[in-house]
Structure formats: structure tokens, C-alpha cells
Symmetry: C2
């Protein structure tokens, strides 16, 4: 292990804030030492409770996360927030104006806030989120809240790193919500209908409960993959019934701090269910398998591209000039990269 890592690991493990920040920079930069650091921290993880908060833009997710953090801090829990930011894939600029609202937590040593830009990470956003969670987990944060702004596939995959995934929606967000719910339904453990002082809140709750009940039909397949959310029995009354988890649908008004305690209680109940039924162990195994594959893929592409070097760049330039089609070029590059590898 490099000396710098040798020195840094104990600092991270005792939760030294500057050490944690340093470790996160190393992980971000993906330099020579980052793998050594992540390997060294790996055995020390698994204690933090990771809550994923995702959902539709305009649902007031950030305010709700803000309130959740307040509620968690009220019971003296060390909290980290990882905000996944759909920044530009082109210039890499990350702007998250509403993070400003969380500045009041900045002076609170028990709250650590980290923005994670989604720009072109090899191996996907979820890979980066996994590495950041590994560092924060080793650093002794009790709860890590991972907040995603987007609703694309990358954001859905981040839910794989969470013990409990909260989907936030709000009344009156329109038709597209239906499509999004279809994708997210299977990964959400708790639903929050925020802004529930608006018209249509009861309808939104009913719609979600119906979709959860429909989820029973695909329950068997989903259970086989170790995901419990869609494997609900009966109407969505919330909580565990006969070994199954039925995702509760809660009404919240984050701006008025209504329903936040109940939301946190639902997360706690889900955590308890994971522990009691062994579902948590299964979920961890799934996550590790998923993560191993993502890490392998990212490293494979990075290493192959580094070895191909100028050959890769020249091949791409030929496609740019329309001298060759991208499929033929890709075949030749793959053959060259894997040359000599045995089956």
C-alpha cells in the first residue's frame, strides 16, 4: 500500500473530516492511489444505513431531504448527503442552485454534504456513487442519504446502493409521471406524495397504491432477483406482512415539515424488516455483484483505451471523416485489444 494511503486510511476510519475530504478527492481523481484506498477501506464498510431519495423533478425532493436531515440530526446521528447532479456531459459544469438551501447544515459537523457530478464517468454514475458511499461508510457516518435529481437509468441504478429507497412525487405533475413510476416502482421501498396540501394528493396516493397492488403480478420474478418492493401482498397498508414488504405511501408537506417524522419511521421500519428477514443480506450480495461487474467494465475500457492509445484515436478520426463505418472500426479495435487473450 502506498505510504500516503497507509497514512490516510486511519484518518478516514476515525472520521477525520479533512481526511474524508482528501479520500473523496483521491476517489474522484481516479489516480494511481485510488484503488489502493478503496481496497483498504472495503473491509470497514457495511455499518451505515444508506437511504436513496429519488423521484420526479418538481416534487420538492431537495426540501424533503433537507427536512429528513434535520430529523436525523435531532436524534444525534452523523449524516452524510450525496447529491447526484445531472451536470452537463459536455463541459462538465455542475450547478446545483438549490444546494444553497442546505448551507445551514454546513456549520454542523455531523452533516457532510457532497455533490457528485454525473459527467461521463466510465462505469457509470453508480460506480462513482458506490465509491463515495464506501468512503463515507468507512468514515463512520450512521446514515448516508443519496439524493438523485434525474430519473434516467443511471439514477435508477443508484438505488442499488441504498438499503431503503424513497420515491418522492407530488400531485399534478402530469402524464410523464406514469411512465417514470413504471420504472421506479420496483425499486421504491417507501413512497412520499409531497406537496400533499395540494389538490389531487389523495388521487396520487390511490394511484400509487394501485400500482403497488399490480406489482404483485410480477412479484415472483422480482423476488428471484432479491428485490422486495414489487413483491407486495394486499393493499398498500405499509410495513411487513408475512415476510413481504409492502411499500407504504405517505403524504408529506416538506415546506411545513409535515409527515417527515412518519417518513423517517417508515425508513426505520424498512431497515428493521431487512434485518429481520435476511433480505438485507441478500440485497448486499446483489449490490456487491452488481458493483463488481460495473468496476470491471469501467477498468476494462479504461485500460484497453490506454493501451490502444493513438491507434484508437486514429480509428475514430477515420470514422469522423466518413472513411470507415463505426462498426467495422469497432471490430478491429476489439480484436486488437483482446489479442492473445484465451477463451
Amino acid at each position: 500500500m502506498p505510504a500516503v494511503i497507509d497514512d490516510l486510511v486511519p484518518r478516514v476510519l476515525r472520521g477525520d473530516v479533512r481526511g474524508v475530504a482528501r479520500a473523496l478527492r483521491i476517489v474522484d481523481d481516479r489516480g494511481a492511489d485510488h484503488l489502493a484506498l478503496l481496497k483498504a477501506l472495503h473491509p470497514h464498510g457495511g455499518r451505515a444505513f444508506v437511504i436513496g431519495v429519488t423521484g420526479t423533478p418538481g416534487a420538492g425532493k431537495s426540501t424533503l431531504v433537507d427536512r429528513l436531515v434535520e430529523a436525523l440530526r435531532a436524534r444525534a446521528t452523523k449524516v452524510a448527503v450525496v447529491a447526484v447532479d445531472p451536470s452537463s456531459p459536455f463541459t462538465g459544469g455542475a450547478i446545483l442552485g438549490d444546494r444553497i438551501r442546505m448551507q445551514r447544515h454546513f456549520l454542523d459537523e455531523g452533516v457532510f454534504i457532497r455533490s457528485l457530478a454525473t459527467r461521463g464517468h466510465l462505469g457509470g454514475v453508480s460506480r462513482s456513487a458506490g465509491d463515495v458511499i464506501r468512503v463515507l461508510d468507512a468514515a463512520g457516518f450512521d446514515v448516508i442519504v443519496v439524493e438523485t435529481v434525474g430519473v434516467g437509468q443511471d439514477e435508477l441504478e443508484i438505488a442499488r446502493y441504498a438499503h431503503t429507497t424513497v420515491l418522492v412525487t407530488a400531485p399534478g405533475l402530469g402524464d410523464d409521471i406514469q411512465a417514470i413510476k413504471a420504472g421506479i416502482l420496483e425499486i421504491a421501498d417507501v413512497f412520499a406524495v409531497n406537496k400533499s396540501d395540494r389538490d389531487g394528493a389523495d388521487g396520487a396516493v390511490r394511484d400509487l397504491e394501485q400500482m403497488i397492488a399490480l406489482g404483485r403480478e410480477t412479484g415472483a420474478a422480482v423476488r428471484g432477483q432479491g428485490h422486495s418492493a414489487a413483491a407486495a401482498h394486499g393493499p398498500a397498508a405499509g410495513g411487513a406482512v408475512a415476510g413481504e414488504w409492502t411499500p407504504p405511501v405517505l403524504k408529506t408537506v416538506a415546506t411545513k415539515n409535515q409527515g417527515v417524522t412518519e417518513l423517517l419511521a417508515a425508513c426505520d421500519a424498512h431497515r428493521q424488516w431487512l434485518a429481520d428477514t435476511g433480505a438485507g443480506t441478500r440485497r448486499l450480495a446483489d449490490r456487491l455483484a452488481y458493483e463488481a461487474r460495473a468496476i470491471f467494465r469501467g477498468a476494462l475500457v479504461r485500460e484497453a483505451e490506454a493501451r490502444l492509445g493513438v491507434v484508437l484515436l486514429e480509428a475514430i478520426a477515420r470514422v469522423e471523416r466518413r472513411e470507415e463505418d463505426p462498426y467495422t472500426v469497432s471490430e478491429a479495435l476489439v480484436s486488437r485489444a483482446l489479442a492473445g487473450a484465451r477463451a
Copy 2:
């Protein structure tokens, strides 16, 4: 070239609907013949005008696309719609309820509608979208509208395949919109504030125009990459000024068919600007380079995983059982996959 492809290519090129559907199935399945098909179609592309429509859920994007298609059909253009659907990454189920609204186009032979699920495609969603666009382009569709529901990185990247990208938003969708706009601003060529009969429409237009003006600051960097959207000069009056494109911000009410003609005219103006300034040629070169890299990465991972076979599965199982950390396992797998390849 396999005989089946030999037979299919001319059918696609003359726009035979069943041939096109067959070709799209082959592309989807990624079987033995799909590369041969895509290679054969590659030289025949480049005629279609590709309009990307993206934006925030709840903005009424699908209705607006529906109206755009009507307007395009009114001038007798052959139109294809590719709807990118954020379906479940877990079970692969794709549900897009609002596609039902487009059924009235199903009897219209000039409109071809295709849903594209975003589930776990190697090489990303954008890879699949690129292949589908290549087939439809070769089949002689005049306009291909690519509609994305999500706002994650994958969805942003699909904009790389569009000549003109329309960002749809609506008044009153909340704070998250700010964050999303930051990411999308640089890739949008035309902005539509839909539902503009609602309160706050003028404010939404003003906000966007301010962000476009701010975009001038990063203009130089963005120009270097061949993207014009953020390289605007002066207030957002719309249209081209001194070789630069200033994204216009238009008000629409899709449900009342208001502003749709103007929106289409703005897309036409942008297309003309691309042709007049050479920006279109630059954009095509960028897209091809991007696509070549994505195709290479997807093929590399697929081929390496196939060759590793059971070795890969056993290594992942060791991580699952916590016998090894995913980083160490990944290093060993990459070494094995690339063994023998020269620098």
C-alpha cells in the same frame, strides 16, 4: 454479407414498412447479423432531419410531440418517432401509457412509432438510439423525432444524435428544474415553455433567456467542442446572429395546438443555420466520433465477458460472498482479458 441481410437491405432502403420493422428487430436482438446490417445501411444515411425532444417530466412533452407530428404530416413529410422509455432496469418491463394517445397515427402510413426501452444496454441507451436512427434514416424518413422521458445522463447523450434539440419545460415545475436546465442548456437549440397559458409562463421565459445569456461565458469552450447552443450572443431573440445560433424561447400550449407552427419554424431555422454555417458538418463529425467510441466500448465489454465466461461469474460470486473486494477482482479480470495485447 449474410443472405438474409442481402435480401433485407434493399427492402429497408425503399422504405418497406415490414422490412424496416424486421431490421429494427435484428438491431434490437444484437444477434449474429446485426453488425452486417448496420454496416450495410451506414453509407445510406445522413438524409433525415433528426429532432430531439427532451425536458422535464410533467411539461406535456408527449402532447407537444404529438402536435409536432401532426404539423409535420400536414406538409406531407414521412415522420418516425422514437420514444425512449425509462423502463425498469430490473425486470425490463416497458410501460408507456401515454403512447396510447398516439394511436391515431398508427393508421397513418407516413408515421412510424417506435418505443426504445432503456434497460441495461451495453454501450448505453444512446448506442441503441443511434442504431435505430441509422435504420430509419436509411429507410427514407424525412424527419425522425427522438423523444426522451428521462432527464439523466443517458437522455442528455441522446441529444448527440439530433440535429436540433428542443427542450420542453413548463411554468411551476419547481426548483429541480434549475438543476436540470444547467445540464441541458448547452445542448438545447430551441426552448419551448409549454402550458404557457398557466401563471408564471413569462417568468419561465425570462429565466431561460437569462440562462442563455449567461451561457455566453462558457461559449468559447463549448464552441471548441462543436456545440453551438450555449455560444449565444446578445439576448435570446432567436435565430442566427453573426454566425452564432441563439436558442429561441417559445411559448406553446400543446393541448390547444398553440405555438406549434412557430416551434416547427424554429426547428427549420436551426436546420438551415446548420447547413449555412457548416455547423451541421461539424456536428455530424462529432456524433460519428462519439458513436464510434460508444460502439467500441460496448463491443469490448461484450466480447471480453463472453471470453472470460465462467471465470467472470466465479470471480463475481467471490465478491458476493465477501471473500474478495471488487477492486482486486476487477484488476485480475482486466489483466486476464487483455493478456497478450501489446501496448
